[in-house]
């Protein structure tokens, strides 16, 4: 990389909050780096300072407690997949994690980075939306908790303001055991961005759909009833999304495949 910047790696969450407060819009937060570093290389971002959120004490913490699964900002996608507890309790989280990029990228990319990046094609967002996860957002002035249903503000935009960072992701204990499956339409079997992705979860007769690459933000659909027939379910999901035509596929193709996936998932997710 030719572009030069300074690198800071605060050692405590408090120090991190202070650093981010000092630099505000002049800096960029570095988690796994799998989006940020290519973007700096390609000139998309020109931060004066890059602040690493992986090095503070507790950043890599992944814990199962009474409130559910909590994950710090350094927890990688493969940390989730390698966790037997995560695979048993949150299979839909792992289904989404498994579809994300390639093995090497999953070793580096973080769950927090995937959602803070807020790409419409985020693979982790459908899981966090369907599982009712919450974001604990921290800054120098305190902490606030935002459900992921209110976290995404637009293409590559979240409710985070300069000075804040995503300190913890909490997936509630009540969502443990939800059955789920994520279907992601890609051009190849391996590493690719999705054309569309649909996650369906089913728990105690309640259905939820999380849809990626189909609107400015990842979308949660919780209006489908257990008794809806497949066409009705597809109609409700399609009413909540607004796909566009782009280099990866047309609006019509995306709409068609979302319908196909919703009908398929209804029969497949027990």
């Amino acid at each position: 990389m030719v572009y030069e910047f300074r690198y800071l790696a605060p050692r405590t969450a408090t120090e991190l909050a202070t650093v981010l407060d000092d630099i505000k819009a002049d800096g960029r937060i570095l988690a796994g780096g799998t989006d940020l570093i290519p973007n700096i290389r390609n000139g998309v971002f020109k931060p004066r300072i890059v602040v690493d959120v992986k090095k503070f004490q507790g950043a890599d913490r992944m814990a199962f407690g009474s409130e559910g699964l909590s994950m710090g900002p350094a927890v990688t996608i493969n940390d989730v997949l390698r966790s037997k507890d995560a695979r048993e309790r949150y299979p839909s989280l792992c289904a989404c994690a498994h579809e994300l990029a390639s093995h090497q990228v999953r070793n580096r990319a973080t769950v927090a980075g995937n959602v803070v990046n807020a790409s419409p094609c985020s693979d982790m967002a459908p899981a966090l939306l369907c599982l009712g996860a919450r974001a604990v957002i921290r800054s120098a002035t305190g902490e606030r908790v935002v459900p992921f249903a209110n976290f995404f503000a637009g293409v590559k935009k979240t409710v985070l303001v300069p000075g804040e960072f995503l300190a913890t992701i909490i997936i509630p204990a009540e969502s443990a055991g939800a059955a789920g499956r994520y279907l992601k339409l890609k051009r190849i079997a391996g590493h690719d961005l999705g054309i569309v992705g649909v996650l369906m979860t089913r728990k105690d007769g309640e259905l939820r759909f999380g849809v990626s690459s189909a609107a400015p933000t990842p979308v949660l659909v919780d209006t489908v009833g257990a008794k809806d027939d497949p066409d009705e379910a597809a109609r409700k999901v399609l009413a909540s999304v607004s796909p566009i035509s782009d280099v990866r596929g047309t609006k019509e193709y995306r709409e068609h495949m979302i319908g196909v996936y919703v009908r398929r998932l209804l029969s497949e997710v027990e």
Partner: protein, 161 residues
Amino acid sequence: MRIKLTVNGLAYERECAEHVTLLRFLREGLGLTGTKEGCGMGECGACTVILNGRAVNSCMVLAVEADGAVISTIEGEAQGPSLSDIQKAFEKHHAVQCGFCTPGMVMSVKELLADNGKPGVDEVKEAIEGNFCRCTGYVQIVEAVMDLTGRPGGKGELEHV
């Protein structure tokens, strides 16, 4: 920033500019040019190294992030003229043509075999899904790994020759 790291069992301490990637540091700072730069954005896997036991794209890691890390690169495979087992298997199965992807392929396979001594074909394919090869193709690479991990008859399940 001054960084310390262990590469292929040797400890290094160097001054390193903060914007330099681990890939560039390995190649230009330490002279270990076995690790290649392909796309520079995490698509091709030519720059794969093992960082603290995990295969990663070194083009997307800053050298300063790897301060204190233990790293393996392709230079750590052969001992003098003697190739490592993975390299021998690649050679035997003609899993190398131009060789540009090979250092990354070998590192991905090495990480897989460290975790999973007898992988199935699908697991091998998943381990190298982030490594592009544009000339040999993937079949011989998968065969090399299946042979190496002691499948019955010494043949990979995809043996087609």
